[in-house]
Symmetry: C2
Subunit: 285 residues, 2 copies
């Protein structure tokens, strides 16, 4: 199948796409990325992803101007070559390759990467039936608002969740406040109000998060962002996790106990329905 | 010059050495590493580096057994092919390449990387004259005891230090306690006592750190590990930073003010002398 990659000016099959072992993305995690989704051949929320990518690059002092200028065209071309209608597009910009040193080299050319993979309905069962989650200590760094590839904490937390038979790890900071999932934003419904942690340096400003909050407001669902505790989670009527890849997945068990009825809740269902409708609408962005 | 790389069974010039763009080292920082130094053709403290590498791998659930079994031989061979006597050897083990997902794939082959670069006396001026440092908030994750390639925090902190005209960033946690430098361990001399933060999950167990503490004890210098504040730093008689690459570098200015006399101190000098002597001794390990 034509899984397409683009690296520094060249399109090729993913299997043939390589970077130097001295790429700072590999040696330092000195890189930023985005994951986008195409529905029926159209990239969803492209503008918001590009805005966040711009911000992430700026926060690590990485000049993304050249890549950003050509990126929309490259994404379209990669998607076209792949022939996929429903796809995951991955974009990564690294500092580039240089002899290893913590100091950022003066003259270095960033490494530009795009991949396109087909997106099957991989999470259909989880979306329909809901999943379990476990609460874990948020061990990540202080700038999770930067979408960088320093993701080992998330990998280890996801591993710990899976070892415990759960789909996702839901993270709490040192003050016991909910931050986010290992690879998702977290939403809670309490007394009909949709609640989620407010944006800070400890949380990624999820594109799906933002879209869901807009949809909720338009649909007349009260929305509140602010502090949520482990007790708020455990006592909630509904909980769900959201991201570009998984869209909306109900959390029906938390730390081994049922959330609400133990079934996906009506507000979760409603929001996922609205989201899919929007994402699949021809003028989705 | 013959800068040698080894990747998954094959030796080649560094410039030709590549990994897949879907290597989890590149996409997630899902990898661990070591930096070793050879003096006059002999790798210094090899055993301690291998022990730490084993521990780091284990803490991220990465099976390093096969690589570890062959690693001493591979390092010797890489060093031999390079023809360098004084060299920096870099070793990295990543989770391997797979279609992107936070979950650790079941059947995945780790990517094994070694590079050898010549080590000139790159830090001779800094070692002789001392450097300035600035105090910054430690923004890193909760497991800095794992020598992983999630090093973006260190890169950004080093960048901030260099922008401020300083050589190194010295990091303090949320309680104002010294942890370490952006890429070094930190030592302080107060009233003739050598002091350094004690090991924890927030600090890398530096091989140079350990060797310097042993040398100090053998030399009759009182040693104490424990909590150090920003005020302890500012009021210290001597401060120095240490790592495999830089050995020992005196810090003579901190946050713009002189440390002690503003000159490298006698205990710093003495320890560096003892360290170099040990490292260059034929049976150095």
């Amino acid at each position: 199948l034509p899984d397409i990659a683009y690296v520094n000016g060249r399109f090729c099959p993913i299997e043939q796409a390589v970077v130097s072992i001295e790429d700072r993305g590999l040696q330092f995690g000195d890189s930023v990325y985005e994951v986008m989704r195409a529905y029926a051949g159209q990239i969803f929320a492209l503008g918001q992803h590009l805005d966040r990518f711009t911000r992430s690059s700026r926060l690590i002092h990485l000049n993304a101007d050249d890549f950003l200028a050509e990126l929309p065209g490259l994404l379209e071309e990669a998607l076209r070559q792949s022939t996929y209608g429903d796809a995951i597009l991955y974009v990564q910009l690294t500092r580039g390759a240089a002899q290893r040193s913590h100091s950022i080299p003066a003259d270095i050319l960033p490494t530009r990467i795009i991949t396109v993979r087909p997106m099957e309905d991989s999470y259909a069962a989880e979306q329909a039936e809901g999943v379990s989650a476990v609460g874990l200590q948020d061990i990540r760094w202080a700038h999770c608002d930067i979408k960088s590839t320093n993701l080992l904490a998330g990998v280890l937390l996801k591993y710990e969740a899976r070892q415990a038979g759960a789909f996702e790890a839901i993270l709490f900071n040192e003050r016991g406040e909910l931050t986010e999932g290992a690879s998702s934003n977290v939403f809670v419904v309490i007394d009909g109000v949709l609640r989620t942690p407010e944006l800070s340096e400890r949380i990624l400003a999820g594109v799906t998060r933002l879209r869901l909050l807009e949809l909720a407001r338009q649909d007349g669902i009260p929305v509140r962002s602010g502090v949520l505790s482990r007790e708020d989670m455990a006592g909630a009527d509904e909980v769900f996790v959201a991201s570009t890849s998984i869209e909306v997945i109900p959390v029906v068990r938390f730390d081994g106990k049922p959330i609400g009825s133990g079934q996906p809740g009506p507000i979760t269902r409603r929001l996922h329905e609205l989201y899919r409708e929007m994402a699949r609408r021809p003028a989705g962005d």
